[in-house]
Amino acid sequence: MINFRGFLQVLVAGIIMLLVSACATTPKADLAASRDIFHHSADVVQQAAVNALILTGFQLTKKEKNYLQGNRPLKPGLIISSGGETVGVWLNLVSPDKTQVKIHTTKTFIGYVGQKDWGNEILYKITKELSGQQ
């Protein structure tokens, strides 16, 4: 005899897990709405971008020559949870002392309401880091 209630619980849990995993997409460079050019070399801008990610609460999950990826840990709240976003930062060398930065934030299905696009804030933090204000 099949336990219908147990089967239903497993099914609901499976659907939730599928939604969580399926909606945590990878950032894409061509979808990056936040972009800016900085008058510094790629190495200097990359370090400033790493600092900017740390300042905005991202954990660095990927660090490549021209790409950084970070994730904000998900924290449950009373009404709205916070975190869960993944951000991709692309660094393109325009000239030896000029670097373009493109940022794309992806959100997850769970916690979507408490998540935001961090692109502009990260660009602002990079600017502050490069000007030595932070």
Binding site: I54, G57, G83
Partner: protein, 120 residues
């Protein structure tokens, strides 16, 4: 009904426990040094600089995010800031900069500082 209430309370307790996140890290600004021993007291300099000769050796970051409208302060970050300074081989913490913001019911607090090492 009683079971449901118990489950709800358990969920709330779990939610309160997991509603806080602290991230911290340091990186060396140049040469790497071994961690400072526990016996050495890490000094704190808010506005002034150490009178002894020193070199800047590390950047220190502590980031705290609390949900449930609970704010964090420098006191909450200090133990972790000192731990990061010690791990980086610093003898003192200088150039302390705080920032705080909020997002919904989340309160964000961040402190950045510079670890310095005394020269003999």
């Amino acid at each position: 009904m009683k079971t449901c209430l118990k489950k709800c309370m358990l969920l709330m307790v779990v939610s309160f426990v997991t509603g806080c996140a602290m991230q911290s890290q340091f990186y060396h600004l140049g040469e790497k040094y071994p961690p400072t021993p526990e016996s050495v007291v890490i000094e704190l300099f808010w506005d002034d600089m150490p009178s002894r000769k020193f070199i800047k050796i590390s950047r220190l970051d502590v980031h705290i995010e609390n949900t449930h409208f609970v704010s964090a302060s420098f006191a909450d970050a200090l133990p972790e800031l000192k731990r990061q300074a010690r791990l980086s081989g610093a003898h003192a913490i200088t150039n302390i900069r705080e920032s705080s913001s909020s997002m919904g019911e989340t309160r964000i607090y961040h402190v950045t500082a510079t670890g310095v090492r005394y020269l003999k």
